[in-house]
Amino acid sequence: MTTTTTTMSSFFPSVLLLLSCLFFSSIAASPLGSGDGYTITGRVKIDGTGTRGFGLPAKLSNAKVILNGGQRVSFIRADGYFSFYNVPAGTHLIEVSAIGYFFSPVRVDISARNPGKVQAALTENRRVLHELVLEPLKEEQYYEIREPFSVMSLVKSPMGLMLGFMLIMLFVMPKMMENMDPEEIRRAQEEMRSQGVPSIANLLQGRSS
């Protein structure tokens, strides 16, 4: 007995891709002389850098571009460009590994029928790329941000709550007692005494007397 979910893969934007290949062919894939291989060239772009920028951020010098889950690994040049050479026609997956950034993998189709025609789309949000420019979807923050010391955090902690409750009991309760009818208090006290429930006040009184 198997229960499989229907959330997966049944919907695939094939129509979308078909449409997109009608009007875009700007991504470069140059066939090499030898025939079967193509070159995929793209660029990794991170805000603040670009072709006119002053190179990549320091932590990006260790970034890698990975084809098909580790089949090939390429590195990023100072201007952000990377290349894979001799890639056969077919559908490929490009991933960017850069610490501190989240990149979506990119699906790259190299058409065998129309040599040089390449389509690319982000697999995370199915966005079609007209140029193979890979930008991080978001920055990754690996650490919790420590909140600055505040009185509220102290108050909110269990011990703070305990203290707060105590203070309320200490200052507010006597005020409430004062506002109460003395007759009523006496009646209540008598009632309690008759029930024999020892209260802290009684204990304290008993010891002091």
Partner: protein
């Protein structure tokens, strides 16, 4: 109410999501990260300029790195792809590191100061062949400095400035094999010398600027050549002839090629067995290894050879370096006891040693295997030398002025297997002598500390104080702790070295290069395989040391004989080693021990015979009792077959070996080879603890987990789609996942994923499997979960049946009964490629689990198992929400804070190991690749202990405040009472 419940749920969710999160200032409290590079293949020094002196190395782990020559620290490092091995490196223009990789098809230039890639050139390689990189030595200011690359029958000249191909020249000659490229100083002519398959020596003269072929010359050598050749100078080659009995000098720069040959027996004046040529790169000289003697010979102008020196039993010889014009130096290393003798000679006066140093080296580093030298000019204008030595255990030493300046334990970059050992128990009672010694130590320590506080301590003292503090700091102690955080991680490296790392800070406690896993006459090319716990003392834990079993074999083939070695896990001493007569196909640690508490191991050889270890009469008694319940399976990937085995009886060998048992095949599953190919097998960890079999559902229904140690997950892919991604279309790809009972061979569950392919990574735990694969239709990675429940126990829910005794709770659980199982599955997208998958393990199995995923970016992500729960639905009901079921999403979330490696990368990640701590909430995680990373994580937060950032001050303040409040109220009430009495 609903609002409150959902708030509560949200709170719970938040809590659990942040379980692994870390504040930046907590880095390094529980974790450590070590960077390595692997065994150095090639090294190039860069010391010309003033400023940072560095050495650039390429290693067998596919790393290129720039190291600080003063300290051995890594300036920068790149790990190349696994299919992209580095062939050669060089330094061009004094500012680029040039690497040639993938059999001469990729040339990259890296910026020397920061390691940024400057350019990359792909070189078309038609057929695989020897590749050669030639970076002109006179890396001056010339504009068009061309790098010559030969690979696959083609010579390319590449500009070292931007990587543009200046010209290329094809050598289409059949079987042409390049042997050398030479460029006479200042000349514009390049000589390319090679052999063809029919012993022709071919010399091509090429214009260095244009690539134009100026002259082509080929002469056949009548006696044939062996293919082993050395370039001795710009116009001379020395080769071995086909019979390997004489040396041939080939002079090629003159208008015609001339030969000169000389029998080796004349050279060495004795008979010999083996001979090989060693690269020396000294002008006019070469080295040959004849048996174990190294012969240094000079080639005279007439082409005759002259032996200059014979050295017995050297380890290795370095390449030569140019000191001054026409003066070259090279180094040689010899071994004697625990010392290595380094001698450096200069070519114009070969007999005298310019430098002779003797350095004491840790015997656990083995022999020197490679040496690279570099010179510097001393203040008195004489030459000083430093040598980089690669040792047998893959470690790297820098030697200068007779001392080891720094060393790197780079064998740790190639860990083969790992296990864990407990530390010694803290001894309460100690002997008088020890007390005295301790007292003295204690006094000394306090004196030192006093000195430190009075600012009287010297630098040395400060270092000792630091060391003492480190030793006494809680996490680095050498004794067992209450929480079980302190342990020894024992790792086995490719070099056959066993190292013990302390979990506190990752320092090496001991290391041993196993003699049985070193190359010797008995064992030609030993391979380290596995490491197991051999002896874990419980009864005499105070005075017995635990020990480990290290398994290896001699040679690549499947019938190579095995080697066993037993090592003490506190001291690293080898207690015992056995050279086995049989091969090793599988090692099964059995859950039994003999009377000495030695764990029984069954080693299955190639013929499916089992061999029992340890070989004691006691172990055989234990074994014979349990023999009938021992089953195992074997996987034959070639035939796409899984077989189940059981033991039959004694071996039918001629010699009576009572520790040998023959086996019988119980069952076999043969997958149709035209449509299915085994891609992944995964099993549960043997030592996994399961807390409860029952799982209570939302509607207070009980599900019983199908928990069996014998469950095997097997995944097959269609043969067409067994390659890499991009090689198959969705139509021809399919993936079938099986759950198999390894005792009966029964297939419990089978599911097919159409349009899916590998690589598959899977982890099995309790009653579930999580596996990761690629969906070609969506072109995304997917993770699936299968949970398996035992239906036969579900009938016990009827109370009346329980009362009337008609339940089956007391019936024995056996694999032979046909279980009725129910399976639940679900599939999700996962963004990244995966390198390894593991699951957390805790001492009692109560804590909820996290799946640890090693991503392609070499990070380790902790993903709550609750995200991989097949009960997730799009709109969970109120009851489900309260139970913590997360609404279904199509993709698994990647929360940056749940990367347990935080901002570190475990370069070249290969495996993740989880070790339960004694504290139930905590798991120790050790992940390794080229780097090592260790941390401890608490999948459901540390509910059983206070966290490290617990504020004790606040607790104290609260208590004080409470006490003060009590006193104040007491006084107040007393005063009030007094007032009332007066009234």
């Amino acid at each position: 109410m609903a609002v409150r419940a959902s708030l509560f749920f949200l709170f719970l969710l938040l809590c659990s999501l942040l379980a692994a999160a870390l504040y930046e200032d907590q880095v390094g409290i529980a974790d450590w990260h070590q960077k390595y590079i692997g065994k150095t293949k090639q090294a190039v020094f860069h010391t010309q300029k003033a400023g940072r002196k560095r050495v650039v190395v390429a290693t067998e782990e596919n790393v290129i790195a720039s190291l600080d020559l003063r300290s051995g620290d890594i300036y920068w490092r790149h790990v190349l792809g696994k299919n992209d091995p580095v062939d050669q490196i060089g330094i061009a223009l004094g500012k680029y590191v040039v690497t040639l990789s993938s059999e001469g098809s990729v040339l990259r230039a890296w910026n020397l100061p920061d390691g940024q890639m400057s350019w990359e050139t792909s070189i078309e390689v038609l057929k695989p062949s020897k590749s050669l990189l030639y970076v002109p030595a006179n890396a001056g200011v010339e504009k068009d400095n061309l790098i010559l690359v030969y690979g696959g029958g083609c010579l390319h000249a590449i500009s070292s400035i931007d990587g543009e191909v200046a010209w290329k020249k094809e050598f289409s000659l059949e079987g042409f094999n390049i042997q050398g490229i030479s460029q006479p100083l200042g000349g514009s002519i390049i000589y390319i010398v090679g052999f063809t398959s029919n012993s022709q020596v071919v010399v091509n003269k090429v214009n260095a600027k244009t690539g134009e072929l100026l002259n082509h010359n080929s002469v056949a050598y009548p006696r044939g050549l062996s293919g082993e050749v050395l370039q001795v100078s710009s116009d001379l080659l020395v080769a071995l002839d086909a019979a390997r009995s004489s040396l041939v000098t080939i002079n090629f720069q003159a208008s015609d090629i001339s030969f000169h040959h000389m029998a080796i027996s004349n050279l060495v004046q004795e008979s010999f067995v083996t001979v090989s040529l060693l690269p020396l790169n000294v002008n006019g000289m070469f080295a040959a290894k004849v048996d174990s003697t190294l012969v240094l010979a000079r080639v005279k102008d007439t082409g005759e050879l002259e032996v200059t020196e014979k050295i017995n039993d050297p380890s290795c010889v370095s390449d030569a370096i140019l000191l001054t014009e026409g003066q070259e130096a090279f180094a040689m290393v010899q071994h004697a006891d625990n010392r290595i003798h380094l001698s450096i000679r200069v070519n114009n006066d070969i007999a005298t040693e310019v430098l002779k140093e003797s350095i004491s080296v840790d015997p656990q580093r083995g022999h020197a295997q490679k040496i690279f030298i570099n010179n510097y000019v001393r203040t008195d204008r004489s030459h000083g030398f430093r040598a980089l030595i690669v040792m047998e255990d893959h470690s790297l030493l820098l030697v200068q002025q007779g001392e080891i300046v720094w060393s790197r334990e780079d064998g740790l970059a190639s860990i083969v297997d790992s296990t864990v050992s407990e530390l010694p128990v803290e001894k309460v009672g100690v002997s008088v002598a020890k007390v005295e010694e301790n007292l003295l130590e204690w006094l000394k320590g306090h004196m030192l500390k006093l000195k430190g506080t009075l600012m009287l301590a010297s630098a040395e003292d400060v270092a000792t104080i630091q060391g003492m503090r480190l030793k006494n700091s809680e996490k680095n102690k050498m004794t067992r702790d209450h929480n079980g955080f302190r342990k020894l991680i024992i790792v086995l490296t490719k070099a056959g070295k066993v190292l013990a790392l302390h979990t506190g800070d990752g320092r090496v406690i001991w290391s041993v290069l196993l003699p049985s896993l070193r190359e010797s006459d008995v064992c030609d090319s030993p391979i380290a395989l596995n490491i197991y716990q051999w002896h874990v003392p419980h009864h005499h834990a105070m005075d017995e040391n635990p020990s480990l079993l290290i398994v290896g074999k001699c040679g690549q083939s499947s019938d190579a004989p095995g080697v066993l070695s037993v090592v003490d896990s506190y001291t690293g001493k080898e207690l015992n080693s056995i050279m086995l007569a049989h091969s090793i196909a599988q090692v099964i640690p059995l859950p039994f021990t003999d009377s000495n508490e030695q764990r029984l191991h069954l080693i299955i050889d190639r013929n499916s015979d089992g061999h029992l270890y340890p070989r004691t009469p006691d172990s055989i008694n234990v074994f014979l009792r349990e023999m009938s319940s021992i089953y195992w399976y074997s996987v034959d990937a070639e035939k796409s077959m899984i077989r189940g085995h059981a033991l039959k009886g004694k071996c039918n060998l001629d010699s009576a070996d009572e520790y040998c048992f023959s086996s019988k095949e119980l069952w076999s599953i043969i997958f149709p080879s035209e449509s299915e190919k085994i891609a992944k097998i995964a099993t549960r960890k043997m030592n996994e603890v399961v807390h409860t079999q029952a799982k209570v559902n939302v509607d207070h229904d009980v599900m019983y987990k199908y928990i069996s140690k014998n469950i095997v997950f097997a995944a097959t892919v269609s043969p067409k789609a067994s390659g890499e991604i991009g090689s198959a279309t969705p139509e021809e790809a399919s993936l079938v996942a099986y759950l198999i009972d390894a005792v009966t061979g029964r297939i419990l569950h089978r599911v097919t994923h159409q349009g899916a392919q590998g690589p598959i990574h899977a982890v099995v735990s309790e009653n579930w499997v999580v596996y990761h694969y690629f969906n070609l239709r969506a072109h995304r990675y997917e993770m699936s979960v299968i949970e398996i429940y035992d239906q036969s126990r579900a009938v016990n829910k009827d109370v009346w049946k329980l009362i009337l005794g008609k339940h089956n709770l007391t019936s024995p659980i056996t694999s032979y009964s046909k279980p009725e199982v129910v399976v639940k599955t679900q599939t999700y997208f996962f963004t990244h490629s995966v390198k390894a998958v593991a699951v957390t393990a805790t001492a009692k199995g109560i804590t909820s689990k996290q799946v640890l995923i090693g991503t392609i970016g070499d990070q380790v992500l902790a993903l709550d198992k609750r995200f991989l729960d097949p009960r997730r639905t799009l709109n969970p009901s109120q009851a489900e929400k309260e139970e913590g079921i997360i609404p279904l999403t199509d993709a698994l979330p990647i929360i940056p804070q749940s990367y347990i490696t935080h901002s570190h990368q475990v370069e070249g990640l290969r495996d993740i190991v989880t070790i339960p701590a004694k504290l139930e909430s905590t798991t120790l995680v050790f992940s390794y690749g080229v780097d090592l990373f260790f941390t401890r994580i608490a999948p459901s937060r540390t509910y059983d202990s206070l966290t490290e950032d617990f504020s004790y001050a606040l607790l104290l303040i609260t208590i004080i405040a409470l006490v003060a409040a009590i006193i104040v109220t007491w006084i107040l009430s007393e005063k009030k009472e007094l007032r009332e009495k007066w009234r």
